[in-house]
């Protein structure tokens, strides 16, 4: 049985929490017809935006829109302060880990993380070894998925250190809320999120290899057929930078240029939304047509910066995740502010035995899986599914980790029958530049729209909400 969940509005039943007071009053006062009307407007608004979402690719056109829920998720200012400290600490540790992983691997020598978890990690890139990056920034843009279990405890569920997506939803959701419910924004002080593009641009400029010159930043996309293309073009527009495909760039004498109507223009910083594998056919997949031949030569020569760096996937591997508390202590000498979900590494025989014995209570995930695929939610699975999964687990134990079923917090959400609690998580975005760390207050709240479901991924029927950080 899943333990009783903490509700963002009502706590464990002790009544409305202060940060929700204004919203609750409004929800109680507003006539049902008004709410219903705004909901319909929101749907219309998003269907219209959705139409522009869909024009970008034949495949995208067939994709469902991600449902938007009009009841925001509210976090008190003091809660956010603690959370953002924890996020900053976490990302600092991720960057320190990556610098070490591609440097002397002290963490392996110290016996904290086993060598093979790093050297044989599919996302480890030997090509990155001994490379000095501007400001030692590997993960300039991190999306850290956190969940809440009570008033004081946030757990990190997953670190996204490669190409975290979803920030366009954070921005669009806020736009929609301001348009639909202007009166709510005048009632209380809600931290703005629309500074994100500026903060991102400043972060990208800060890691440029040429100092003291106007650096040229581009956003590299796999192209219109990629499912996240909308976000790529949205961000390029907001940042005011060129949205380029691999074929728009070329390398000459270890320098990256883009092809423009006025001739080659030197590129300093690439905000890459392409998987490492496809970046450079001379270094990685030789059959890639999305990349730039010779890009790694320019990168290794220090003539171009990539955000995120190549090979950051080692840090968002779920097996490495389980070592995060030790990693924070090892590099920063501090106790982790954010909790890690207790994790059994099935590669360890005792852990595997425990997991096999307790499959019914655990969530089992693939080490390199994402999007909610390839996982077993023990309490929700029937005996036959569990049996099948146990076989998979025994065949490749090193491919899995297991965690207890967490009672993710719930948040009031519009559903067919009215307003009901649904489980949520939160993906705040942490920007790390050579100058400083920037965290826009808020993030993307994802909500599992199916009653009782703990899977919030949009590919599995999740929706999104606006996230409000209140002023203190």
């Amino acid at each position: 049985m899943t333990p009783r969940a903490f509700d963002e509005m009502g706590g464990f039943g002790e009544g409305c929490r202060p940060c929700y007071a204004a919203l609750k009053r409004w929800l109680d006062e507003a006539p049902a017809e008004l709410l219903d009307q705004r909901r319909k407007e929101a749907e219309l608004l998003f269907r219209r935006i959705g139409i522009t979402f869909a024009v970008y690719g034949e495949q995208a056109a067939q994709e469902r829109l991600i449902p938007f829920d009009i009841i925001p998720r509210v976090i008190a200012g003091n809660e956010w302060r603690k959370l953002s400290h924890g996020l900053e600490q976490r990302v600092k540790a991720l960057n320190a880990l990556l610098k070490d992983v591609y440097g002397h691997r002290e963490i392996v020598r110290a016996g904290v993380v086993p060598e093979e978890l790093i050297l044989c990690n599919p996302y480890f890139r030997p090509e990155m070894a001994q490379l000095r990056l501007a400001g030692d920034i590997y993960v300039a843009i991190a999306g850290i998925d956190v969940v809440r279990v009570d008033a004081d405890t946030f757990y990190v569920l997953e670190d996204n250190a490669r190409t975290p997506s979803g920030v366009s939803y954070m921005l669009e959701n806020r736009e929609a809320m301001i348009r639909l419910f202007p009166e709510l924004f005048s009632r209380q002080s809600i931290a703005p999120v629309d500074g994100y593009p500026d903060e991102l641009l400043a972060t990208l400029h800060s890691i440029a290899p040429r100092r003291g010159e106007e650096s040229c930043v581009v956003l590299l996309t796999p192209g219109p057929y990629n499912s996240a293309y909308y976000e790529h073009s949205f961000l390029a527009d907001k940042l005011g930078v060129e949205l380029v495909e691999g074929r728009d760039l070329f390398v000459r004498d270890e320098t990256v240029f883009m092809r423009t109507t006025q001739g080659p223009k030197r590129v300093d910083v690439i905000y890459s939304r392409i998987d490492d594998d496809f970046l450079d056919p001379l270094a990685f997949r030789p059959d890639s047509v999305l990349g730039v031949p010779g890009l790694m030569l320019a990168y290794r020569a220090g003539n171009v910066s990539l955000a995120n760096a190549v090979g950051t996937g080692v840090a968002d591997d779920k097996a490495i995740y389980s070592y995060m508390p030790e990693i924070v202590r090892f590099y920063l000498g501090e106790e982790p502010i954010l909790q890690n979900v207790p994790t059994w590494r099935c590669r360890e025989p005792e852990a595997l035995a425990y997991v096999l014995d307790h499959l019914g209570d655990l969530v089992v995930k693939e080490v390199n899986g994402s999007g909610g695929y390839g996982m077993l939610v023990g309490p929700a699975a029937d005996a036959a599914t569990r049996r099948l999964f146990a076989e998979k687990l025994k065949r490749r134990p090193d491919n899995f980790i297991a965690q207890p079923t967490l009672a993710l917090s719930t948040c009031p959400t519009f559903v067919g029958s009215g307003i009901a609690p649904r489980h949520v998580d939160l993906r705040p975005f942490v920007l790390t530049g050579a100058d400083k760390v920037r965290i826009v207050p808020g993030g993307l709240t994802r909500v599992a729209l199916v009653e009782g479901s703990l899977v919030v991924n949009s590919s599995q029927g999740g929706g999104t909400k606006d996230t409000w950080i209140l002023g203190e």
Binding site: V55, S233, D237, V244, T260, T261
Partner: protein, 315 residues
């Protein structure tokens, strides 16, 4: 200000394909009208044959069909997925180019292209019969008008706009020259029995395929004479589809680019030399040295200009 070569290339081809769709529609229109005349007026050659030739699809058609029938030609030029120059494929390719550069277009332009594309899908599902043809052609011509109009009314006058216009004019010059290339024999002097019913309809048909029947009367105040038809299509800068008018525009846009960028190259040199030669010749000189040869050489130069623009800016 930075414009990616790829973006400029997509805009250039988007405009070329919209223009080609329009041109194929006019060719079909002319053929349809000529074919609806009693055979005594239609001449010996099949108008449908020559429509295929004018659209530049002779080989592709022969590969797909054994016989030339009106129904087959209409299908081939209007909605066939196999013919890369069918109106349907032109609209699809134009839209694919536009979609790749969604952010470089204005909303109005995108909607003009996307709406035409969506309407086209309806025609694809229904098919275009001979009876439907006038309605279908009206739609196709309007699609081009709406695209042109939205581009001119809404785009910023920067390089993105100039590349769009360059695509349109280069394609338009090519289309006019190809009409002359296929029909030159009915314009030759030894063929000219002024007032002969048969040829009158051929000449009128040429004018119609470039929407210039009314303009002709207005410019020449005369009955339709073959050398004047050639004069109008080649040398009259007032006639927007004439070769001279296309090259006046092309030169204008290339000058805008060279001023904005601060350098010029082969495209500017080529375009100026073509425009100069058009300005310095007369229709008599052209007929003396051979209309056919003139048109062939123009088509080659126009291709060369396309390649020069691609080389200088688009790759």
């Amino acid at each position: 200000m930075t414009l990616l070569s790829r973006t400029a290339d997509n805009l250039f081809w988007m405009a070329r394909y919209m223009e080609r769709a329009d041109s194929v529609a006019r060719i079909l229109d002319a053929a349809y009208r000529l074919s609806s005349l009693p055979t005594a007026y239609g001449g010996l050659t099949s108008e449908w044959d020559s429509a295929i030739a004018t659209a530049g699809c002779t080989a592709a058609y022969a590969a797909a069909h054994e016989k030339v029938t009106p129904e087959a030609v209409v299908h081939f030029l209007a909605v066939s997925p196999e013919n890369p120059s069918s109106i349907r494929r032109c609209l699809e390719i134009a839209r694919a180019n536009a979609r790749a550069e969604r952010t470089a277009l204005t909303i109005e332009m995108w909607e003009a292209i996307n709406d035409s594309y969506l309407t086209m899908q309806g025609w694809v599902d229904r098919g275009v019969s001979l009876a439907d043809l006038p309605r279908f052609l009206a739609f196709a011509k309007e699609a081009a008008l709406r695209f042109d109009g939205s581009a001119h009314r809404t785009m910023l006058r920067t390089d993105a706009f100039w590349f769009t216009c360059l695509g349109l004019c280069t394609e338009r010059a090519d289309n006019t020259a190809r009409i002359l290339d296929v029909k030159y024999h009915v314009l030759l002097p030894d063929h000219a029995r002024v007032g002969g019913g048969l040829d009158y309809y051929q000449w009128a048909s040429i004018l119609r395929s470039v929407s210039a029947l009314t303009s002709y009367r207005w410019v020449y105040r005369d009955s339709v004479k073959p050398w004047l038809v050639a004069d109008l299509l080649i040398l009259k800068e007032d006639m927007p589809r004439s070769l001279a008018a296309c090259y006046r525009s092309i030169n204008g846009y290339l000058d805008e680019l060279s001023t904005a960028y601060g350098w010029q190259g082969n495209s500017q040199r080529l375009a100026r030399s073509v425009h100069m030669r058009l300005g310095n010749t007369s229709i008599e000189t052209i007929f003396q040295s051979g209309l056919h040869e003139f048109v062939e050489s123009f088509l080659a130069q126009n291709n060369e200009l396309g390649a020069a623009i691609a080389e200088q800016y688009l790759s």
